[in-house]
């Protein structure tokens, strides 16, 4: 019994870690869909690029292994997030400017295909940059540091990743609901023409959405590297697919829905694994998605941002 409780506790934290990463990526899907109704298939690869940018930032800062001094660790982590997230934001804005904005009034399929193209371009750029082999990333957060809970040894890194996901979600949520720019985002999402007539700069607002979504993907990329220690150019596809599923599960366009969807997928994955059906985890995730959509076509929490879909 004690053994079972320890195992379940450990799995609970495994799910929080992986779910936190999915949630951060899912936010980008849901924001972009909410504002321009585009399923940004390149977003998984933006997450992948984020993990490589984070790797480069850490290496440039001269960090190669665990940092044990707490002050130094906090400083290094802050530097990693504060440098990587804006870089990724700018990359996201660049993609929007050159790949999506020219097609904003084109038929829906055009930007969708473009998004798939951008996904391949990002993969090939990273392939050319770092090669086909997986690359080890500096795990500056000491993954061996643990605490005991219900007989299980939990690594602090899982708590850290969960907290990062939580803090960034809350920050994003309050930005969107409280700030002026957030209000511009919500109005653009509700009715682009009306918002424009009321003086909202649509281009800036949409660019801002891409900036925030890509920055969050960058944060997820950092978290992924810290936890798993290896990144590869092909990483984006499966993570992107799961995060997209998370966004649909929570109700695409809905910020808190995407986050809860991300954690839900993390838990589904871990539960199937614990039951001994690891091979089936993808099938189970999509089975859950189908069941949810049959009963709640708009996802678990419905759509909040977009009202025209």
């Amino acid at each position: 019994m004690d053994q079972l409780i320890a195992t379940l506790t450990e799995q609970f934290f495994n799910a929080l870690t992986i779910g936190g990463i999915y949630a951060l990526v899912a936010l980008g899907y849901t924001m972009v869909y909410g504002i321009i109704e585009l399923i940004n298939f390149a977003h998984g690869d933006i997450f992948m690029v984020g993990s490589f940018v984070a790797l480069t930032v850490l290496t440039t800062l001269g960090l190669s292994g665990p940092v044990s001094d707490p002050g130094m660790l906090a400083f290094s982590l802050a530097a990693a997030f504060l440098i990587t997230m804006p870089i990724m934001g700018v990359i996201g804005v660049g993609i929007e400017r050159f790949a999506y904005r020219p097609l904003r009034n084109a038929p829906r399929l055009a930007p969708l295909i473009t998004a798939i193209g951008v996904s391949f371009i990002l993969q090939n750029v990273v392939y050319a940059w770092r090669g086909p082999s997986p690359v080890a990333t500096p795990q500056i957060f000491p993954v061996q540091e643990r605490f005991e809970l219900f007989g299980a040894n939990i690594a602090w890194i899982s708590v850290f990743i969960f907290l990062v996901a939580l803090v960034l979600t809350v920050a994003l949520q309050s930005f969107v609901s409280r700030s002026r720019l957030g209000r511009a985002m919500r109005s653009t999402s509700q009715d682009r023409e009306a918002a424009q007539l009321m003086g909202v700069n649509i281009n800036v607002t949409i660019a801002l959405t891409f900036f925030l979504g890509s920055a969050l993907a960058g944060a997820a990329g950092i978290a992924y590297g810290l936890q798993f220690g290896t990144v590869s150019f092909s990483l984006g596809f499966s993570a992107g697919l799961k995060a997209f599923t998370a966004a649909v599960l929570g109700g695409i366009g809905n910020l808190s829905g995407a986050v809860i969807g991300g954690f839900a997928i993390g838990f589904v994955e871990v539960i199937t694994t614990q039951l001994g059906y690891a091979r089936w985890s993808q099938a189970v995730i999509f089975a859950v998605l189908i069941i949810v959509l049959v009963f709640r076509p708009a996802g678990l929490f419905g759509q909040q941002l977009g009202e025209r879909a």
Binding site: Q144, F228, T230, S234, E269
Partner: protein
């Protein structure tokens, strides 16, 4: 190492690349030295009959350089030496080298297309390659139809020669042409199980594969043997690394065990599994893998097992290689190899050298009776499958009716993180000939 190879062999790679693009059968000379040696030998030899070619298909670009290039150099060395000795049965040897890597990864379709180029060239009387079993599955139907003797230095897939191999010979089911010097997986898996049970004294194992044909096969045969020995397999999992890159939940769910066996390669999850074992605090549990993870590469090399696992997690990692380690005269081979290529032999260099030696022996034994190239090609094939023995760098061996070598060595290795100034490396533990117990 990669850059050095690219520099030294850029010319050949470029020519091979050109051959692939043009789709035309070309045969670059081995090296300027070889051509000079060839003409000198031809003028000296009284019974010069011209030139025959040995076709080569290996993955030679991108992430495969570490696999393909040392293997290619092994067979190049054999051809160089044969030509310097005045040729084989009156013929000078040339190589027709094809690269089956597409975007840096071995590709079965590219392999089949390369094999088409090779069989279309009448001067090609034997072939060495491919490196990967899944490429072999695409190539054998092509070479079998053409009756071209083909020797793989490294394929370990059981179905290539044994039960189920007839599907790769749709046109000539009765006529074998494919043979190999590597030891198949139905021996490698059980050998790893004996190592885990006897050498590591493990009694409970967690067995996980990468859901690919090679990984599943070797993991299944490990499981069967480990249980036969009296051990218990606490859990038998599969993880498709392209859809799930984390082993944390799998390790938690597996519970307690004495050893982990991973069926797969370092890039399909082997490296990440060991890294996640480190994160989960399970480093005192030994990791055992097949030749897919036992890459014998230094830590820090791109894509190597120790690089991907991280040297801090790489102590206590063990594995098998499907071939002989202590060849009868390793110093002589290493000296000849490094004199030519300025580096140490790779894991499959000697095996590729032995493949070429078998083909050379068959050409020598057939040259006097075969009247033209088509007859020579068939005679070489018949010679290999005629129960003849060959003196090779691996020792004296012959090939059975399936094309498997009479030698069935498995070599065992483990990591040592102190090696190479602390970046880590592999050390040889022991080797064993499983010819007696072979299925």
């Amino acid at each position: 190492m990669k850059l050095r190879n690219l520099g030294a062999f850029g010319a050949i790679v470029l020519m091979v690349g050109a051959a692939c693009t043009a789709g035309a059968p070309t045969s670059p000379p081995v090296s300027p030295g070889a051509s000079a040696g060839a003409s000198a030998g031809a003028s000296a030899g009284a019974s010069s009959r011209g030139t025959v070619k040995i076709g080569v298909d290996l993955p030679l670009s991108g992430g495969e350089v570490a696999n393909g290039v040392p293997t290619r150099q092994g067979l190049e060395l054999a051809v160089l030496e044969a030509n310097e000795a005045g040729g084989v049965g009156g013929y000078m040897l040339e190589l027709s080298i094809q690269d089956d890597a597409v975007n840096g990864v071995h590709d079965p379709d590219q392999g089949a297309s390369n094999a088409g180029i090779l069989v279309a060239d009448p001067a090609v009387v034997g072939m060495v390659g491919p490196f990967n079993s899944n490429v072999a599955r695409a190539i054998i139907p092509v070479t079998n139809e053409a009756g071209l003797a083909q020797c793989s230095p490294s394929n370990t897939g059981v179905d290539l020669t044994k039960e189920g191999s007839e599907v790769y010979r749709p046109n000539n089911p009765e006529q074998r042409n494919y043979f190999r010097v590597a030891t198949p997986d139905d021996i490698q898996g059980p050998a790893a199980a004996q190592y885990a049970y006897n050498d590591l004294e493990a009694r409970s194992a967690y067995v996980i594969d990468d859901t690919e044909a090679f990984g599943v096969g070797v993991a299944n045969s490990f499981t069967a043997e480990f249980e036969d020995l009296g051990g218990s397999v606490v859990k038998r999992d599969g993880n498709d690394f392209t859809t799930n890159q984390s082993f944390a939940a799998l390790l938690t769910a597996a519970g307690d065990f004495d050893v982990v066996f991973f069926g797969g390669t370092q890039v399909t999850g082997g490296g990440q599994l060991r890294k996640d074992m480190g994160t989960a605090g399970l480093l005192e549990i030994p990791f055992v893998g097949p030749d897919g993870t036992t890459d014998l590469q230094e830590g820090g090399q791109e894509g190597a097992m120790i690089t991907l696992a991280g040297v801090e997690n790489s102590e206590n990692v063990h594995g098998t290689v499907a071939g002989i380690h202590d060849i009868p005269d390793p110093e002589a081979f290493a000296a000849a190899y490094s004199a030519e290529f300025d580096e140490q032999p790779g894991a499959y260099s000697a095996l590729a050298y032995a493949c070429t030696q078998a083909l050379i022996g068959a050409i020598e034994g057939s040259a006097d009776t075969a009247t033209d190239m088509a007859a020579l090609r068939e005679a070489v094939r018949a010679h290999i499958f005629g129960g003849n023995t060959y003196e090779t760098v691996l020792g004296t061996l012959n090939f059975d009716e399936n094309g498997d070598s009479s030698q069935k060595f498995i070599s065992f290795y483990k990591t040592d993180t102190e090696l190479n100034d602390g970046t880590g490396g592999w050390v040889f533990v022991r080797q064993e000939d499983f010819a007696e117990i072979a299925p």
